[in-house]
């Protein structure tokens, strides 16, 4: 399974990547929406589209909402699951993201279990673990 982790914070990318790697994902990171689009195009060209994108909202150059909108414009990228991972937590913001085509929405701060719960909901959790 492959995931694209998009966040302008290196720390947050590291945290999310750590959790995803722990359940078997290969990770590519991007620091803004434009870098992420480039990574998507490169992956598509290699015939290795991502299964999942974890997307921060507020980023320089191109924000997460714009990234989602642009991805959803590409029919060949429809199989990629898009999940917002952001501190934006007003009801209206979540509605906007889902309306733009995001499949799921995880509010920061989140526990590792919360991220895995979302993966399970999306049918994207390859490895199950039981530990405290």
């Amino acid at each position: 399974m492959r995931a694209l982790v998009i966040d302008d914070s290196r720390t947050m990318r590291r945290i999310i990547a750590g959790i995803l790697r722990g359940v078997g994902y290969d990770i590519v990171e991007a620091g803004d929406g434009q870098e992420a689009l480039d990574a998507m195009a490169a992956a598509a060209a290699d015939g290795e589209l991502f299964d999942l994108c974890c997307i921060d909202w507020n980023m320089p150059v191109m924000d997460g909402l714009t990234f989602v909108t642009k991805v959803r414009e590409q029919r060949t990228w429809r199989g990629v699951t898009l999940m917002m991972v952001t501190t934006e937590s007003e009801h209206g913001q979540i509605v906007r993201a889902l309306a733009a085509g995001a499949h799921e929405y995880l509010i920061k701060p989140f526990t590792p279990d919360a991220l895995k719960d979302k993966l399970e909901l999306l049918g994207l959790l390859p490895v199950q673990e039981e530990a405290l």
């Binding site: 914070s9 720390t11 590291r14 945290i15 750590g18 007003e90 920061k108 701060p109 526990t111």
Partner: protein
């Protein structure tokens, strides 16, 4: 933002609740280990991170700062980045990770404001920051570390 708009965030209980959720979720697997404590007095070697909330149509804003003695900031960063005991905390790690704490705390406080605001990128420094007026201050204890969150109006 007029002074009235700060009421939703300049609330010690709300700030504590947000900070507890941030530490519990990102560091302690959902466990709340962050408690209210005495705010920090002046400390020699301090690390401060802050974010500013502003609106395009207003000269006013709110600054959220998180400060801790350097050793305590390191402890938070080590835990946040799941570092092994031998691993060294680089200056980059400190700036990025401690800045992210301020970012997530500030971002959650921003969501409480009655009107939509914009959050700045975090700034990290080694001297305490200030704004026009201190509108809230919360002292915190996490494991053996001491932190203080301050809210200032800025213009």
């Amino acid at each position: 933002m007029s002074p009235l708009d700060t009421a939703t965030v300049a609330d010690t209980e709300q700030i504590l609740a947000v900070a507890q959720e941030v530490f519990a979720a990102l560091i302690d697997d959902g466990e709340v280990l962050l408690m209210e404590a005495e705010p920090l007095g002046p400390v020699d070697d301090v690390v401060v991170a802050w974010v500013d909330m502003t609106r395009a149509d207003s000269p006013f804003g709110i600054r959220t700062s998180v400060r801790a003695p350097r050793e305590d900031a390191y402890a938070v960063v080590r835990a946040l980045l799941r570092m092994t005991p031998g691993e060294e905390v680089t200056e980059d790690d400190l700036v990025d990770a401690f800045g992210e704490i301020a970012n997530v705390v500030g971002g959650n406080l921003k969501s409480l404001l009655p009107e939509h605001a914009v959050l700045s990128l975090p700034t990290v420094a080694t001297a305490p920051t200030m704004g026009d007026e201190l509108i809230a201050q919360v002292g915190l204890a996490w494991r053996d570390a001491a932190l203080t969150i301050c809210l200032w109006t800025i213009s």
